[in-house]
């Protein structure tokens, strides 16, 4: 056998063995494939939902006029309003608004819809009260009711309105909240796959003396690294496929970019994140050493890289820092491929940061690795 084939033999032998081993291990399957899916289902249903905004309101109809009753029943039937019919007094309503359980209270005064002295037809004024902390909802509600009243007005006063606004939803073609969330969920999955796998497995193998046996053979550290990286990249790709299919079929993910670009980004991201796990797990002598360091590395990344909430909500200074955290370019490029059909050239800055990190992290991992 040639020297090259001899050097590659441990790698080509290890990878299929390692993958088969994964599929025999129910616990591993749960953590690698099922757990991310559950995570996807939970987060997916939080963020996909129906996108209609609805206001939780209490309605006090003090008037007996036909118009007031009609308006009340319209509000109860309308999806736009979520009328809380349990609230019967102003005190109750104020309490619920204070707790954030109600957005606003709508009052139709007793003279609403009756003809006032000196006027030709019925008139009235709707009173809206809302909590100070909920000003946005209150104002939006006011303008919604205002436009409802315009409709009513037009039935009493014959006017032709010269300027109008029509709004039409483009929901069918647009991106949903889920399309943005998916990249974060996928990033989180790759992070836990890459970091929590090796940081639990390698210290355990060291304690059992399994890696020590490899040390007594001519197997080189780089061969062991490459073999593990390839096997993990394959698993990462498989996790991507499963989550992608679930996202498309369950949550109607809008995939605008190329699957190949997405796969390239995912494989590069997997290799990078696995390097972190390899550095920590390869350094630690036992699980007690590895676990806290793994948490210390992953938790800030999860919170600062836009897994749970968008980076643009953070202060500018923090945003500049998060850009350079290893997980951020991974999540960003996944999102750019899915939502904007970004090409690999468009992704050059993100890929550049990823490759830079990969080199640094693997150099550290190589330096810190020990078989025992």
């Amino acid at each position: 056998m040639s020297d090259l084939r001899k050097a590659l033999l441990p790698i080509t032998t290890f990878v299929p063995m390692d993958i088969k081993r994964l599929f025999r291990d129910k616990v591993a399957i749960f953590f690698v494939f099922v757990f991310p899916l559950i995570f996807l289902l939970i987060f997916g249903s939080i963020f996909s939902g129906d996108n209609n905004v609805s206001f939780r309101i209490a309605v006090f109809n003090e008037s007996d006029s036909e118009i007031a009753n009609g308006l009340e029943s319209q509000m109860i039937d309308n999806d736009f309003f979520d009328v809380d019919e349990e609230v019967t007094t102003t005190v109750q309503a104020n309490e619920k608004m204070g707790r954030g359980q109600l957005d606003a209270t709508v009052t139709l005064p007793s003279d609403f819809g009756h003809s006032q002295e000196g006027s030709s037809g019925p008139s009235g004024n709707i009173e809206i009260t809302y909590n100070q902390s909920n000003e946005n909802a209150g104002r939006t509600l006011a303008s919604v009711l205002d436009s409802m009243m315009n409709e009513v007005n037009s039935q009493f006063v014959d006017t032709s309105v010269p300027f109008t606004v029509t709004a039409e939803s483009t929901a069918s073609e647009g991106l949903t909240q889920f399309d943005y969330t998916f990249s974060g969920i996928l990033g989180f999955t790759l992070l836990s796959l890459g970091v929590f796998g090796p940081t639990t497995v390698f210290p355990r193998l060291k304690q059992k003396g399994v890696l020590r046996r490899y040390k007594s053979t001519p197997l080189k550290v780089w061969q062991f690294f490459v073999a593990n990286v390839l096997s993990n990249a394959f698993v990462g790709l498989l996790a991507l496929i499963i989550m992608f299919l679930a996202a498309v079929f369950i949550f109607d993910l809008n995939m605008r970019g190329s699957i190949i670009n997405l796969s390239i980004v995912v494989v590069l991201g997997t290799i990078l994140l696995f390097g972190i796990g390899l550095a920590v797990g390869g350094w630690a002598k036992n699980e007690n050493q590895a676990a806290p360091i793994a948490q210390l590395v992953t938790l800030p990344m999860m919170f600062l890289s836009g897994v749970f909430f968008p980076v643009f909500l953070m202060p500018e200074l923090l945003q500049n820092i998060t850009r350079f955290i290893p997980l951020t370019p991974i999540i960003d490029s996944i999102r750019l491929v899915i939502t904007e059909n970004a090409s690999l050239i468009d992704l050059a800055p993100e890929l550049g940061i990823m490759i830079g990190w990969t080199v640094i992290i693997y150099l550290i991992a190589f330096k810190l690795f020990s078989w025992e």
């Binding site: 033999l9 441990p10 032998t13 290890f14 063995m17 003396g209 046996r213 007594s216 053979t217």
Partner: protein, 256 residues
């Protein structure tokens, strides 16, 4: 070279290992002849395992030198790794991995492809080819571990306390295996706590204490030397001991 059976395959000169200014292995020298079973005996902390690990390339050699088949262990550890086989004290393997897969992988570490089933057959484990190591009994695991340490046909085979924790049947089986390894022309270097084991298996033994070799010879000669000093053992009239009773009652067949 192979015809000169008395040729030394391992030469150790002034081998030293220092931890915290203390020499746990203190300048020991010895030779191991090709094709023999060489035992290193001694109480806990005598430096047996450290000595073995330095020869196995698993521990840095702090002083002196060791040659295996003419190769300097300190200078060319990678070359030494290719001609030695190592049986660890507690043989463990990755779980959920078939025995044949483990053999294939360990052979690949030496850049070799082997017939895994044939290797399993040599240690009577051919029926376990598709089992996982965690499904094996202690004795089976020992046998399997030995077979994996020999996948590449090494010249020297190291065993560290191979029978600790095994039942009498499994111990006897392992002794047979070690003899078979020797009969294949592989030199065996082992440590042990059990004197009966050393007396029965080893062609020569080195007795270590506090990092030094305090005696080195064949078991028979060491006993003769002791008797020559006028040592008398309390006389026993029985021609058997409790272990003989145990084996007689339970048979020699291996239990798994």
């Amino acid at each position: 070279m192979s015809k000169r059976d008395t040729k030394n395959i391992v030469t150790v000169k002034n081998l030293t290992k220092t931890y915290d200014d203390k020499n746990v292995v203190d300048g020991i020298s010895f030779e191991v002849k090709k094709g023999e079973i060489f035992g290193i005996l001694g109480p806990n902390g005598a430096g047996k395992t450290t000595t073995l690990e330095m020869l196995e390339t698993m521990r840095e050699i702090d002083g002196g030198e060791a040659l295996i088949a003419g190769i300097d262990v300190k200078k060319q550890p990678n070359k030494v790794k290719e001609i030695i086989g190592v049986q660890p004290q507690t043989p463990n393997f990755e779980e959920k991995t078939k025995l044949t897969e483990i053999i294939d992988f360990l052979a690949s570490c030496y850049g070799e492809k082997v017939d895994a089933k044939e290797i399993l057959k040599s240690v009577q484990l051919e029926e376990k080819a598709s089992s996982y190591p965690e499904q094996l009994s202690g004795g089976q695991r020992q046998r399997f571990s030995i077979s994996t340490a020999l996948v590449h046909g090494p010249k020297v085979f190291f065993l560290d306390e191979p029978t600790t924790g095994l039942d009498p049947q499994a111990r006897r089986n392992l002794w047979d295996l070690v003899k078979q390894v020797r009969d294949r022309g592989i030199t065996v270097i082992m440590t042990t706590h059990y004197m009966d084991e050393a007396e029965l298996l080893c062609d020569r033994v080195a007795v270590m204490d506090e990092g030094k070799i305090i005696a080195l010879d064949t078991p028979k000669k060491l006993i003769k030397q002791l008797l020559a000093k006028g040592f008398k053992k309390e006389q026993h009239v029985e021609q058997a001991d409790l272990e003989d009773v145990f084996i007689d009652l339970t048979g020699k067949a291996l239990r798994e």
